[in-house]
Every structure is written in structure tokens, then in C-alpha cells.
Symmetry: C2
Subunit: 390 residues, 2 copies
């Protein structure tokens, strides 16, 4: 491969960027061997060695098909023409936080959760800032009306609280989540399973353009790479890694969303799922996740509690307050002992409630103050009676 030589910082930076671009294409990600080599000798040396075939047998095998293809400059030119940039571990915006748990030297311990070589990106958002407070919202392409409603609600609620919503740009739940964030003028990131110039699915190219204009389009695949089954699965680990929590809104029993959730779990991220009717096939994957340890979430506040900064907690669900809630047990017992109609004596109340006659007087006085009972010619009557409880 051709790399500029020389000693100035600018030239070195350019050479490193070209090396990252070359490395990003030469092995199909994720690739243990190339990650280990880059970790050991850095991107420049790694690129030279791979191009020269001076690497381990395993890596030579993994790079044999593409090591003579040097499209790095052309790829970067294409990206520049589209207003994009290659985000590499050299850059300030490389999301160290999000990838820290499985990047760099941790590669060997967690081989399945390795960081990408580099990220091809289009969009105004800074990746490190976007990932600082982010949740992934994912789900089946075959979303139900219920799932779409919940996804839109969650995504808008997160956007309103400045949580970045990460997803995969697919039909169904992904698309609904992205759109709801755009409508709420929030920040959304779409991670693609192919080149940044291969907007997929085609029916979402306008949506993906809008995301690239206001948020961030990201992919670890160099230009021209077309989405494929294993690339969707590989892509899912980036969606999971970028969100502090991954929320599965709807998922069938076999679902890419369940795969993203598995990545999230493997990466030590929080896995959340939204429940739905047990009669709905598109909630079955969510229920399986919930049966195996995922957090149940019903609204954006509960997700924010999981991704938010310390001290952010969801408010308690408002609970209706009944007139008897402030009463002590003895007061409730006396209250219940009062007849629905008519009056009764203190002794009768004692028998009906099971309390001693002396023990009903205090509660009766409290009930009178609360307006729930009334003294009537030496006896007592009920003032009002709420609906009978279960």
C-alpha cells in the first residue's frame, strides 16, 4: 500500500488516517488478530505489516483476499465529498467511555466485544458527547401498532431529556424511534450494517439523510460494503455499545433486537425490555428477555433512571389516594364495623370489630374528626362509604 512518508505532524496524521482506513477494509470485522496487532504496534506499522504479508498465519489468512486492495484514499475522498469524517482512536471524539470496557488491551479477555478499527461518520454530532448519555431503542421490523406507539413515546421522552437515541435505521421499531427523536428535535444516531454510501433499507434513505444532517450516521464498514446477515449482527454490537442501556420495544422469538440485547448484556450494558400482551407474537422476545434478567421499562423516565446521571430517578407513579388511606389499622377496623345503614352502640361496634369496647373510642373520635363517622344520640353512624374493596 502507498502511504505518505515524512516526519511532520500533519503528514503523520494523514498517514495514520490512511492506515486506519486501510485496516478498516482489509479484514472483515470483527477481527481479533488485527485488533491485537494494532494494539501492539499501532495502526501505521500494522497496516504496513498486513500489506506486506508479514503477520501471523491467522491474520495473513484473514487479510489474504483484500490486502492488495488499497482503497483508503479513494474511500476518504468519497467520505469528504459527502461531508463525513473517519473517527479513529486518534480522535478526541472517539468514545473512550463507551468502548473502554472492551477496547484496546481488553481485546483478548473479551474477544467478542471488540471496538471497531474506525468509524465512518456523517453528521454534526460529536460521537463522544452523543454517547455520554445515550440509550439504544431497538425492535422488530414487524412492529405492531402498539409497539410503534410505545417506541415513539419512549424515543420522544428520551430526546426531551437530552438522551441520545441510538438505533439501527431499520424498518419498524428502529425507524419509529429515529423519527420520533427528529420530530422532538433531539439527537439520534443510526449505526449502519454497510458502507456509509449504501443507505439501507432503501425506503429509509430519506430518513437516514435527515439523521446524517442533524445527528450522526455511523458505520465500521468502508464505503461500498453492502449490508449482509453477519454484518447486521456485527453492527448490533455497536448499537449496544453506544447505549448505556438497550431498550427492546418489541421482538419476536427470533429477532435481531434480541441479538442486540445479547450484545448489551455481554458488554455489561443494561438490557431493558418493554412488556406487551402475552397474546402478541411481537412481544414474545421481550418477555423472554424479561424472564432472563432484563429490566422491565414502561416509560422514558424509567430508562432515564438507568442511563441518566447520578441522582436522576423516575418519579413514583401517581397513586390515587382514598379517604381511608390516612387511617390506622384500628381506625379502619372500627370504620368497617359501622353498619352501612342505621346506627349502633359502642358495644356493638366492639363486637363487630373484634376490638375491646375501650379500644374503639379513640378510633371513633378520629373517624369523627375525619368526617367518616358521626355521633348520633349516643350511638354512631357512618358518614359516607367508598366503593367496597376487593
Amino acid at each position: 500500500m502507498e502511504l505518505p512518508s515524512g516526519r511532520s505532524k500533519a503528514v503523520t496524521d494523514e498517514a495514520r488516517t490512511l492506515a486506519w482506513a486501510y485496516l478498516s477494509r482489509v479484514a472483515e470485522p470483527p477481527c481479533d488478530e488485527i485488533a491485537a496487532l494494532v494494539g501492539d504496534v499501532g495502526p501505521l506499522d500494522a497496516a504496513h505489516r498486513v500489506a506486506a504479508g508479514e503477520v501471523s498465519d491467522a491474520l495473513r489468512e484473514r487479510t489474504a483476499a483484500r490486502r492488495d486492495i488499497d482503497a483508503a484514499q479513494a474511500d476518504l475522498d468519497l467520505l469528504e465529498r459527502r461531508g463525513g469524517r473517519l473517527i479513529t482512536p486518534d480522535d478526541d471524539e472517539w468514545p473512550t467511555l463507551a468502548f473502554a470496557s472492551f477496547g484496546g488491551s481488553a481485546v483478548r479477555e473479551r474477544p467478542h466485544g471488540r471496538a471497531p478499527m474506525a468509524l465512518w461518520a456523517i453528521g454534526p454530532a460529536r460521537l463522544d458527547e452523543a454517547a455520554e448519555r445515550a440509550a439504544a431503542i431497538v425492535g422488530t421490523r414487524a412492529a405492531s401498532g402498539y409497539g410503534e406507539h410505545v417506541a415513539a413515546d419512549l424515543a420522544a421522552g428520551l430526546a426531551e431529556q437530552d438522551v441520545t437515541v441510538v438505533s439501527g435505521g431499520a424498518y419498524g421499531i428502529d425507524g419509529v424511534a429515529h423519527r420520533a427523536v427528529l420530530a422532538a428535535e433531539g439527537l439520534t444516531v443510526a449505526v449502519l450494517a454497510g458502507g456509509i454510501d449504501v443507505l439501507y433499507p432503501a425506503g429509509h434513505s430519506s430518513l437516514l439523510h435527515r439523521i446524517g444532517n442533524s445527528g450522526l450516521l455511523l458505520t465500521e464498514y468502508p464505503p461500498g460494503v453492502r449490508p449482509a446477515r453477519h454484518r447486521f449482527l456485527t453492527r448490533n454490537r455497536l448499537v449496544a455499545a453506544l447505549g448505556t442501556a438497550t431498550v427492546v420495544v418489541e421482538a419476536g422469538v427470533r429477532s435481531g433486537a434480541a441479538n442486540t440485547a445479547a450484545w448489551a448484556r455481554a458488554l455489561g450494558r443494561v438490557v431493558c425490555a418493554v412488556p406487551g400482551p402475552v397474546t402478541s407474537a411481537s412481544s414474545m422476545g421481550c418477555h423472554t428477555l424479561l424472564r432472563t434478567g432484563a429490566e422491565l421499562v414502561t416509560r422514558a423516565e424509567e430508562v432515564i433512571e438507568l442511563v441518566g446521571r447520578a441522582g436522576e430517578f423516575a418519579d413514583e407513579e401517581p397513586r390515587p389516594i382514598g379517604p381511608l388511606d390516612a387511617l390506622s389499622d384500628a381506625e379502619k377496623q372500627v370504620y368497617e364495623a359501622l353498619p352501612a345503614r342505621g346506627v349502633c352502640s359502642v358495644d356493638e361496634i366492639a363486637v363487630a370489630s373484634g376490638l375491646a369496647p375501650t379500644a374503639v373510642l379513640g378510633p371513633l373520635a378520629m373517624l369523627e374528626i375525619a368526617g367518616l363517622a358521626r355521633r348520633d344520640d349516643g350511638c354512631w353512624r357512618l358518614v359516607r362509604r367508598p366503593a367496597s374493596p376487593r
Copy 2:
């Protein structure tokens, strides 16, 4: 109080039964003090001491209102006329298993989960056998169509697998569960919050009669006691205690079903909840339970797994099998590298897949055998392509 005296076994048995009946009315359950006294001196002595007022100040207070009421014989006569029986700790069918964790000497350690004095019962089922393999199904009176559907399904599924379904006889989820069991000719137990002669709610008196004819009607309250708020809550602990698992099908944020679940948890029983739409108020209580540790269940098999004898496990949900499921990773990668239309060479496949040219030959041969790829004049083409994955 009048108790028969004498030494023959039959006379002693009768005296003990009268004593249990007297004790069952004299203090409003649950009553720590009377349980402790019976545990110490047995029912005969306990009844004599309570009637004579020769007890602790606390217990004298608790029994002051009713200690001179001796309705034991009349209560037992009424029960006998209705074909019922008083089940006491003296009887073989007293469910030692279900109450073991909080009965007898454990009273002081778990004061809130104490066993009833005795159980007024009507029905052909033996309580110990019914409780051996039982689940409680409970839920809101304001059930939705969804909740009713799920409750009926669960109850019928449990009945078909010889699991006793325990509930509270209320409108809504309880009633649906009881009815589904009766329709499936299974065994159902209704635990009442008042006397066995006070069938409540009135609209369920026919249902409750049917339960008493084929299953079991139970209550710890003596005849004539009318249901009241605190009695529903006290009753709920028996529903929870009789089921190895308590399944909440639907519950609002304030719900008696949530109270039953709290009892089940306090008693060390399994708490289950059925999820529903997050947009449905009648599933909110279930979701709160699920967020705080309840087991998520979607069908009867999953409940049976929790209540069943060792070795009973729910079958895995059937999963659809795709044509690519049997492929290795390399085979999948090669498969995805084949163009949707037209043919390509081995080298082109190697570039597209990121595998070495020598590494694609084996996978191609396997794909050919699987009928997924076809050799065509030295090149390769796809034979068929399933729907693109997420």
C-alpha cells in the same frame, strides 16, 4: 363457655372442635396473642382461659368484646346443615405443608404470616391434597378483556395439569379463573373474607355454590361475619399461603391483588405476574411487581414449572428454523457474499466475504450440498435467498 367434659376420645375430640370454633370467633384474626397462647397450652386450655379472662392484658383486651359470646355449637350446627366441616390443626387434612413456614412455633418470628385458628370449609376436596400442588390466580375486579382472556387461559391450563387454582371469588380476574377451572373440570378453591354463609359478592353466589359442590369454599371467619376491608386483606394472606405460586394477571396501581402478592412474597412463596400493554392501567400493578422481582409468566406451563413437582419444566417456545440455521459462521459469510443476481468467481467471493480464497472453497461446497449455492461454469450463484435479516 360451655364445653363437654369427660375423658373418652370422642368427647375430647368434640370438645377440641368446640374450642377451635370458639377461638375462631373470639378474637379478630390475625391475632398474635391468641396464636401464641394456643401454641403454648393447646386449644382446650386456651379457650377456657380466654373465656375466664385469665390471659395476658393484651389478649384480654383483644377478646373483651366477644369472650362471652359462645356461638361455637350453633356455628358448627349451621356448618353441618350446609354439609361443611371445621378443619383444624387436629385434622389430617390441615395443610401442614402450606402453613409450615409460618404456623405453630414460628408465629413469633413471622407475626404477620400466622396460620388461621381453624378453617370453616364446604366442599368435597381434601384441603391438604388440594394445596399440595396449587397456584393462586388473582387480579383486579376491573379486568380488561385481555386480562379475562389470559386469566381463563392460565386457569384452564393449570386445571388440565392437575394444579389447584386458588382465588378470592371476587368479580373480574378471580371469577374468570374459578369459572375456567370449573369448565375444565379441575379443582378450584375460593377463600372468603366473611362467614361461609355470607356469600360475597352476591352476584357470585351461584358460582360460589358450584365451587362448594366440586372444590372447596374456605374461610377463617365464623358464620355470620360480614366481609370488610381489613378482612379482604387478611383473607388475601390465605390465598397466598395456599398457592405455591401467586399469579397476578391484572392489577391497577392500588389493588388487592398486589396485597396478595405482597403476602406471597412475605411467606416465601413465588410471586408471578402477567405482563400487558404498558398503555393499560389494569396492567400497571403487574409491571410494578415485575420491576420489583416478580417472575414474568405468559402461559400455564411457566407457572407449572414453578409449582410443579421436581422435573416438570416448560417446553421451550417453538422457534421457527431458517435454512441458514445449520450453517457455520464461515458458510454464512460466504453465503452472504454471493450476489443476489448473476454469478461471481471464487476470488470475488473471497473479497466480498473477507475470507481467503482457499477458505471459501469448503463453505461453497457445503452450500452446494445444502442447495443454497450452485456452481455455474466455474463461477457460483445463489440458489435462493430468504428474507433479509434485521
